[in-house]
Amino acid sequence: MASESELKDMSKENDLLLSVQDLHTYFYTEEGTVKAVDGVSFDIKRDEILGLVGETGCGKSVSALSILKLIRYPGKILSGKIMFEGRDLVPLTEEQIRRIRGNDITMIFQDPLNSLNPVLKVGYQISEVYLLHQRDVLQRKLDYARTHNTENRIKLQKYTTLNDYYKKYEKKPIDVDEIFSVVFKNAKPISELQESLADNETYLAVQNARKEFETEIKEKIRDLHEQVNQIPLQDAELNFIISKIRIAPQKIRKLDMKILSREIKILIKELDPKAIIRIKEEQEEGELSDLEREQIIEELTRSREQLHELESSLKAFWNEMSQYDKLVKEADKEEERRTKLEHELDLFIHQSKLRTDLILRYMQVLDLDEPMINRFEKEFEELHHTTEEELFTRKKEVLLNEISNLNVIEKVTALLNEYQEITKLESSRQAIQEEIEEIRVEESQKVLEKKKGRAKIKYRKLRKEHEEVSRDFYDKYYEHEDVIGLKRIGFKVDEDDFQELEYVLEELKRQQTQLYREIDALKWDIKTEFEDVRKVDTSNFPPKVTEKINQLQQKVDSVRVNKQRKEVLYEQLKPLIQYREDIKSEIEELKVLVRKRIKLMDIALEESSKIVKAVGIADSRRILDRYPHELSGGMRQRIMISMGLACQSKLLICDEPTTALDVTIQAQILELIRGLKKRLHNSVLFITHNLGVIYELCDKVAVMYAGNIVEYGEKQSLFDNPMHPYTHGLLGAIPRVKPRDRHQKLAIIPGMVPNLIFPLPGCRFHPRCEHAMEICRKIRPELIKQPNGNSVACWLFEKDQDKYEPGSFKKLGDEFKEEIV
């Protein structure tokens, strides 16, 4: 019926997405056959929106449902073709069409509430589409995620072993052999590395010298110990002392203080004058005279004052001690910093080559992860690209820094003075303690004498309390005894030690001057030092300079040798240890990842959250977790659209999607559909009775009436120049808002939609048409293309009127219309 050839000419073949040709869909009801769609043809190109307009019951929805083959019994697609991408959909089986539904063609219904399943969550319903059509894609993603998970598991194992090692390292000095054995099982023997480090003779020589020095110190300590305690010192104990000599735990002092102040408080309580007077009176069975009473009170107040004084002095002592502690800590910090600087200095002197080689070797051995390797590589690059001058400036900075840090000397001298005062204080403290004990003994005797029963109990109670407290204290004390180390062995700081400390001070000062000298030497020649101080040929220089160079050589060697093999190795491993924190956080992340067993549904939900975001819902996480009835109408329609677009369908059929929504949300949804079309380049078949919406959205329009298309063409020309009387009627029925159009009355098309069981012969619109002619009653007009590009099915636009019977283009009288309607 419709001019197929013309339609084909209108659009290029490959541009055509859907082409409905001469579709007939009938419903075989008991009353008769309803010819709902009777010969409809239209095309939808790619990336185009076609609007389908018409009154209710004109067959818009039925033709849309026919495209998806959703016509249910008793309906049936009688004839016609539905070509989708060059493939006819009509003869397809249910299984085949199911592949297309939801995947290539999707549909959005009028009422979003009813078209979502009320008992299923929105997230499930969207991800169902993915599960149905893109199971293979999801499976691929799932496989990837799972393999990734196993990778994570391996990574986690690796990291945890590393972390364990780090934990160990935090507590005790590093043992490189252990690291190699625990963490890096496939490591090469260390001897290779050792050789590369200890290649010069001076190393061995100075090592021996150092050993001698150490033995000297040990002997000194041993002698001291024997002098003090008259017992020979064992080797283990000696080592222990050397390692723990610095530590002075503050906690123990605190506890000590607590006990003392507690005892004083108890004593003050016991010294209640009223109670004592009463006790005396009871004993002597008579009242005391005022004088006696005053005496007692005076005594008590005096002893109380004494106690208070004691307390305050204790507090003062405590404050001093804590200050001392602070000082000690500061000194420790300074020392640490100094040692650190020494390390750095050493590193610089060692030059980068050795280090990079070593790290490279480690990398080969360790089979490290990519990020780590990247970090290493960065470091190498840095080291290789730094020029000699840069290196020198850096070195200089370091040295200067070191010198500034040598201000420790002053602090240490201050500390020594402090310490002497403290020893005095300690003796005073002991005196105080003795005093307290005396007082206690006296008081307890008094009380016992005067108040037998109660006092006994009270005393016992106190005693018990005291015992408990002291037990705790001593428990803790003994715990810490290991730390103190000195106590058990009976080692005490004497004047000799002060001398020792002074000696250390001198040593430090000497070092300071030496460093200054070094800087002078460095100023003298950069290059020679940079290459390697030891290899400089001194014969060419003047004697003063050679002296300096020799000094420098000695210094460098000593610094180098001071670091033992293991410490150097530790320096090489330092970058690994610096990433400790990163590894910890990564381990936690990995644990989360590993614990979770990923399912297909998770992947699908992830996908659906993406599509929901694309539809303009920002809070997709929460929306997916809701039931349909908990969403607003606009949201529901958005969800429906997202379901439609889930598989990037090529054709989206919208069956009056905005009818059930209010106007502002209508606008939003229309904007959304348009935006999505722009982005995804899909086609839309938009079914509506609202011409405003059509004008807003569509590229092309097809006007349907009673199962036929009556006008078909470009939107703009159709709205500017409507041809079919029915289109005129529809356009006239749009309510006007502007005041200048207000005077126009709404044009109403008279009559009703015709009965489709017994469709009229000829033009189906003619009973309601004001231009109806004789021929309209008899012959059905065909859809014919007009000069402006649109097609119209109306006899008004027939050119060859002579072909037909004479008089057939005469206007009909009103009587015919009434008769038929």
Binding site: L70, R98, S115, L116, V119, L120, K596, R621, Q648
Partner: protein, 340 residues
């Protein structure tokens, strides 16, 4: 075609790169039992300062929706308690009754039909058997029998009913006519025949009871599912490409489950009574401890020792009531649309 799709996917993920992983059921359960969440559940005006406004609203919303909140009505809790107690009787009778099975079922003790005393709080039945002990031991058999047979009839009924409703046409006719035929068989007589021919075999009795229950459920399910089939969401599920089986059992079944739940809670009582009536007719094992059997055996001594027959009867009534209350509450709670 495939390439195009992939590119589009990438674009989408580029633009909306963030991903969302809603927790699995286990994780959600874990989250539910964190102290914060429990505070929301149990305290009416609980607030957590750490949460932002949005999270707070979400949590409030979730708690409102959660099953525990929804089961909050006193009658449901009562029903749940009854079911819990009866089920724990059925599982741990030897701990809860303090009486060995032998003393309750087999051995003959002095003191027939004694009134309630300190030793026997509910009195004794024939052969000096403790009524309370028999009540607790009897729960095991009554509950297991009734639940097992009901599960058989429920599963069968739901499957056949849904298929009949969705497919329609000759399949519907076939299934429903078979159901008519089966439901026209008088159950008790069939049971009596089975027992007298094949002996008192529990499996047979269970199977027979279960199969006889299928038509009722099928009919119920069909009527519920037919109304659901006409809903738009079925159409939209079809549009998104769902298969028939998916539509039947993923979309239609959960929507029509509420009716079935109520029927289920009623039928547990009927199943217990059915077994009781079988025992009442004299078809049961003599060493079986069962409420229906007790009612039958002690009916002769109703005037001398009413406690022996009345307590098992009360047990049946209370069990039925408990399941009914729980089922009613569950039905309300499982429907996400209902506002509790």
């Amino acid at each position: 075609m495939v390439e195009q799709k992939l590119i589009r996917e990438d674009e989408l993920s580029l633009v909306y790169g963030e991903t969302y992983r809603p927790g699995s059921f286990k994780e959600q359960l874990k989250e539910m039992f964190t102290p914060k969440y429990l505070a929301f559940l149990l305290k009416p005006g609980a607030e957590d300062e750490e949460l932002n406004r949005r999270d707070f609203e979400m949590n409030k919303f979730k708690t409102k929706r959660s099953l525990i909140r929804r089961l909050n009505s006193p009658l449901t809790i009562l029903g749940g308690l009854i079911v819990f107690i009866i089920c724990s009787w059925a599982v741990f009778p030897h701990w809860l009754s303090f009486i060995p099975f032998k003393d309750v079922a087999i051995s003959i003790l002095p003191g027939t039909n004694r009134p309630p005393s300190f030793e026997h709080p509910l009195g004794t039945a024939a052969f000096g058997r403790d009524v309370l002990g028999r009540l607790i031991w009897g729960a095991r058999r009554s509950i297991t029998l009734s639940l097992a047979s009901i599960v058989v009839s429920l599963v069968g009924g739901v499957i056949f009913g849904t298929i009949a409703a969705y497919k329609g046409g000759w399949i519907d006719n076939l299934i429903m006519r078979i159901a008519d035929i089966v439901s026209s068989i008088p159950g008790l007589i069939l049971l009596v025949i089975i027992v007298s021919v094949m002996g008192y075999d529990l499996q047979n009795i269970l199977l027979a009871l279960g199969l006889l229950g299928i038509p009722g459920y099928a009919r119920l399910m069909r009527s519920a599912a037919i109304s659901q089939r006409a809903m738009t969401y079925v159409e939209s599920a079809k549009v998104s490409g769902a298969s028939e089986w998916r539509i039947m059992f993923r979309h239609i079944l959960p929507n029509s489950m509420s009716l079935i739940l109520v029927a289920l809670s009623f039928d547990i009582g009927t199943a217990i009574l059915g077994l009781a009536s079988l025992a009442f007719l004299g078809f049961s094992q003599t060493d079986a401890v069962e409420w229906g059997f007790d009612v039958n055996a002690n009916k002769s001594a109703l005037i001398n020792a009413p406690w022996a027959a009345i307590w098992p009867g009360i047990g049946i009534v209370i069990t039925v009531m408990g399941f009914m209350l729980l089922g009613d509450g569950l039905r309300d709670a499982l429907d996400p649309r209902s506002k509790v």
